[in-house]
């Protein structure tokens, strides 16, 4: 009997425990877990990651009564009432907004969404009336720059890291085609008749030793055929094409970009010695570049042109100069006239705009990237100031008349800049450079390489391929030859020797340190749903199999560098040494060309190069089958 009682008590305790366990949700779905998951996704705000707006695109409604602002890092779209200049509504999106297109009837927005945390792009279909996302259409990696056809049935989206353009059928709400372009298309524009899509590839794709042809290209896509109809190279050394617009007649396109004077030893910065900041005029029907015009003045640079727009009446052009914090306004018909009649290249002529009634206006908005024009007002968005500013167009050429008209604040309570946000801003800020000719971003767009070989102002005096800043803080020494002790040292020497500032403001340098410390790799487009593909998994096995290859000797995880110098057989007659700092492999999918002189166009070329690895035996025959090499390449490009 006593035993029975004991059994009963035991069973009851067991039951209580079991039932109790089953309801203890908080132990599994704990408060810290929920907070952490949302905060690591940069949803919940923390002291390190305030929710900045970061306006990156400005698009007016077709009736010109509303202005839609893509608030990139806030993951929202702000709707501004054009008459009152007030933010009347904000629409929340599931990921960062990189661009906006408006349906012809002004009822829907098509917003491209993609971020460094979650780059797999989609188009969010937004019902403006409801103020909600009503659907998502999957597109490509790094989706941005949406353009809608005049009939509202087709949307074109640049997939920056898939190197292609999605063609989206807005009737079936499905991606129906991809059109291959060259490299990192960031910006595009469609002609008013919808027949041509102008796409700017932001980076060159050639090997960096190919100094006679290396440049980025503008491509014209015939939308009816869904094919590239013409590839137009910009001036040699061009890169960072971040803005495209088409004039109302559909005859011309304007493309903002930089020209890197990579053949010059970087001993000075003035007069465009290292970079000029340019605007290319493309003849769309003629499928040719009319000329490539420097926006700079003889003594002062117009650093880092980003967004560009032409007014509806075709009279004015406006360019957002992100690096020099300026708005560049010019008479568009005069510009066309001067450029068409010019003899020879204007790419390094700093007086062209003197004949075009241009005006540069210093903008009280940090690093403006987006610009648009509605009626007689220019709207320009400060990426780091979270504001939209307006300037008048109606005073023709008077600079005084173009004083700021309105400041539209996107945040109810503006967030102070954290140290790393300040560092990011300063990375884009050409006021750190003598004569505002360039910023850190000029040679390292978004902290990554520009694809060119540069002869830096140091004792090496030999061309070296620009390096990524990603993980530079954690992989000393810096530079291919390890010229600097670490990234800390490189930041300060960079300000002095590449931006030519006599005094380094230590507070600003520290903030740039902070930005570099927090940089994280963007997940590779080679991943499948965020994981290694089957091919890459096989490649991983090979990578770690020392009986086959010796990758992990010099490139061990997790940094994929042993932080040492090695002799690798990529010969260059200019080299004074044969030992080079071993680069980490993260994001190598976006850092071509490879090796210290950028002479390997592809990762495969780099891996199988004799003397680089033991993929080949000493007699030249391969250690790996071609399939194994493919797998190995796929793994490295997945990191």
């Amino acid at each position: 009997m006593r035993k029975d009682k004991r059994t009963t008590i035991f069973v009851l305790i067991f039951l209580l425990y079991t039932i109790g366990y089953s309801y203890d949700i908080n132990s599994v779905v704990s408060p810290n877990f929920i907070f952490e998951t949302l905060a690591l996704n940069k949803d919940i705000e923390t002291a390190a990651w305030p929710k900045y707006s970061s306006p990156t695109d400005l698009v007016p409604s077709n009736n010109r009564k509303k202005l839609f602002v893509a608030e990139q890092t806030a993951k929202s779209i702000a709707i501004i009432d054009v008459e009152s200049k007030k933010v009347e509504k904000k629409i929340q999106l599931p990921n960062e907004v990189t661009g906006i297109a408006v349906s012809p009837d002004d009822t829907r927005l098509y917003a491209t969404c993609s971020s460094e945390l979650w780059p797999d792009g989609f188009v969010a279909v937004v019902d403006i009336g409801l103020g909600k996302v009503t659907g998502r259409i999957g597109v490509g990696h790094g989706a941005r720059s949406p353009n809608i056809s005049p009939d509202g049935k087709t949307l074109y989206v640049c997939n920056m890291f898939d190197n292609d353009v999605s063609v989206v059928d807005l009737v079936s709400k499905k991606e129906k085609k991809r059109i291959k372009v060259i490299r990192e298309p960031v910006s595009s524009a469609i002609t008013p008749d919808g027949k041509t899509l102008v796409v700017a590839n932001s980076l060159p794709h050639e090997i960096a030793t190919d100094s006679l042809t290396i440049t980025n290209k503008v491509q014209l896509i015939n939308t009816a055929e869904g094919k590239v109809s013409k590839t137009i190279p910009l001036t040699i050394g061009s890169h960072s094409a971040f803005g495209v617009t088409v004039d109302p007649s559909g005859k011309y396109a304007l493309v903002t970009h930089l020209i890197g004077m990579f053949n010059h030893e970087a001993t000075k910065v003035g007069n465009g010695w290292i970079h000029t900041n340019n605007l290319a005029l493309i003849d769309i029907d003629g499928k040719t570049i009319v000329n490539d015009v420097s926006l700079d003045a003889p003594e002062i640079g117009a650093a880092n042109p980003f967004g560009v727009k032409i007014s509806d009446d075709g009279k004015f052009g406006a360019v957002a100069l992100s690096g020099s914090n300026e708005l560049f306004v010019f008479d568009f018909p005069k510009f066309v006239d001067v450029v068409k009649n010019a003899k020879g290249s204007l790419s390094a002529s700093f007086t062209t705009f003197a004949d075009v009634d241009d005006k540069k206006i210093w903008v009280d908005g940090k690093a403006p990237r987006a610009v648009t024009i509605i009626d007689d007002l220019i709207y320009i968005a400060g990426y780091f100031s979270d504001t939209v500013l307006t300037y008048s167009l109606d005073t023709k050429t008077s600079a005084a008349g173009r004083k700021i008209q309105d400041i539209i604040v996107l945040q109810e309570s503006p967030r102070p800049l954290t140290s790393h946000r300040m560092g990011e801003y300063r990375f884009f800020d050409a006021s750190l450079c003598e004569g505002t000719w360039q910023s850190c971003h000029s040679c390292h767009p978004f902290g990554r390489p520009d694809g060119l070989n540069w002869i830096l102002n140091n004792s090496q005096k030999t061309p070296k391929n620009a390096k990524t800043m990603l993980y530079s803080w954690w992989t000393p020494r810096t530079g291919w030859a390890g010229k600097r002790d670490n990234a800390y040292s490189s930041v300060r020497f960079g300000i002095k020797e590449e931006l030519f500032m006599k005094v380094v403001d230590e507070r600003l340098a520290i903030s740039i340190d902070s930005f570099l410390v927090r940089m994280k790799p963007v997940p590779s487009p080679y991943l499948v749903k965020g994981k290694l593909s089957e091919k890459a998994k096989k490649g991983r096995e090979i990578y770690y199999d020392r009986s086959k290859v010796n990758c992990i000797v010099c490139h061990p995880a997790p940094l994929f560098t042993d932080l040492k110098f090695h002799v690798v057989n990529f010969p260059d007659p200019w080299d004074a040494t044969r030992e080079w700092d071993t680069p980490p492999l993260h994001e190598s999918w976006r850092t071509a060309p490879y090796n210290h002189i950028g002479s390997s166009e592809t990762m495969e070329e780099c891996i199988v190069a004799p003397g680089h690895s033991n993929v080949r035996k000493s007699d030249g025959t391969p250690n790996l089958t071609s399939e194994e090499i493919e797998c190995l390449v796929e793994y490295v490009l997945s990191l």
């Binding site: 029975d4 009682k5 009963t8 069973v11 067991f14 039951l15 079991t18 039932i19 366990y21 309801y23 949700i25 908080n26 132990s27 599994v28 779905v29 408060p31 810290n32 877990f33 929920i34 907070f35 952490e36 998951t37 949302l38 905060a39 690591l40 996704n41 949803d43 919940i44 705000e45 923390t46 002291a47 390190a48 990651w49 993951k75 629409i91 929340q92 999106l93 599931p94 979650w118 797999d120 989609f122 909600k132 996302v133 999957g138 059928d169 009737v171 079936s172 709400k173 954290t418 803080w473 954690w474 410390v517 997940p523 749903k529 965020g530 994981k531 991983r540 995880a557 997790p558 997945s638």
Partner: protein, 277 residues
């Protein structure tokens, strides 16, 4: 009733056995398998799948973005007393991406998230207090968020109490099916001469379309058309004289359906002699 009589013991044992069975079964099925994260507008952001060991202890979590893209795997590590000591997150390559450590800040639970380089991620420790259903989150001594557990829904509010995000447990979002907006104007049949007709379709989604000839008594005479059709406008010609030789003249019905659902019916007149109406 003597609860401890032989018979009662048997009954009781049987009853307890059933209870244990159901309790365990219930417990097993009641373990949280998945949490879905939404913003206040109802946008699905992410989901997390929970992994349990064979003792029923939650040992891992896997975070995915809403489109199924893997973000990280988090391994939960407890100390010898069974309390959470740290959580280590790994990326797709099984390299450490984040480490979360726990501590106490007075009566509050404190946690810190650092990346693989030990860089603190949130700009200072996060601490929280509360129990059961309601929690308050603090950073640098200031209230930053509130959290409320309510059954299988957890709400995250800003410091003013406005809903910012919510989490649904074991209630994944339905796979969205685009609503068809079919109307007769998007599907029609037009006579184009003797027993020849043109079927017009304007579909907003690729669909299985079929077209049947029905007698007035409701009997299916023939399937005139049945195949997958791409989205957009298409036209399909049907010649009844050649499709159904010897078809008797008279009034017939045409039934048109999309993915098995009839959306259009119309009458047609068939000339049995093939010489028009």
């Amino acid at each position: 009733m003597n609860l401890f009589s032989k018979r009662s013991v048997k009954k009781r044992t049987l009853f307890v056995g059933i209870l244990i069975f159901f309790s365990m079964a219930f417990s097993e099925s009641d373990k949280i398998k998945r949490a879905d994260f939404y913003d206040a507008s109802g946008n699905h952001l992410m989901y997390v799948e929970f992994v349990y060991d064979n003792k029923g202890n939650n040992t891992e979590r896997n975070v995915y973005m809403s489109d199924g893209v893997f973000k990280r795997r988090t391994v939960l590590i407890n100390n010898s007393s069974g309390n959470r000591e740290k959580e280590v997150s790994y990326d797709f390559n099984d390299d450490t991406s984040f480490v979360t450590t726990f501590g106490k800040d007075g009566d509050k639970t404190k946690f810190t998230v650092r990346d693989q380089f030990k860089v603190e991620q949130f700009g200072g420790d996060i601490s929280y207090s509360g129990s059961g259903d309601n929690y308050d989150f603090f950073q640098k001594g200031s209230l930053i968020n509130k959290m409320k557990y309510s059954g299988k829904r957890i709400e995250v509010m800003d410091k003013a109490g406005a809903l910012a995000y919510y989490v649904e447990l074991d209630n994944p979002p339905p796979i969205k099916v685009l609503k068809r907006k079919m109307s007769p104007s998007q599907m029609s049949i037009q006579q184009r001469g003797d027993n020849r007709f043109v079927l017009h379709l304007n579909l907003n989604l690729p669909s299985m379309v079929s077209c049947e000839l029905i007698s007035l008594s409701g009997k299916k005479v023939a399937t005139l058309f049945s195949r997958n059709v791409v989205a957009g406008k298409i036209s399909e010609s049907i010649n009844l004289s050649s499709a159904i030789p010897g078809l008797a003249g008279g009034v017939y019905l045409i039934d048109m359906s999309i993915d098995g659902k009839r959306i259009y019916r119309d009458k047609i007149l068939v000339n049995g002699s093939g010489k028009g109406f």
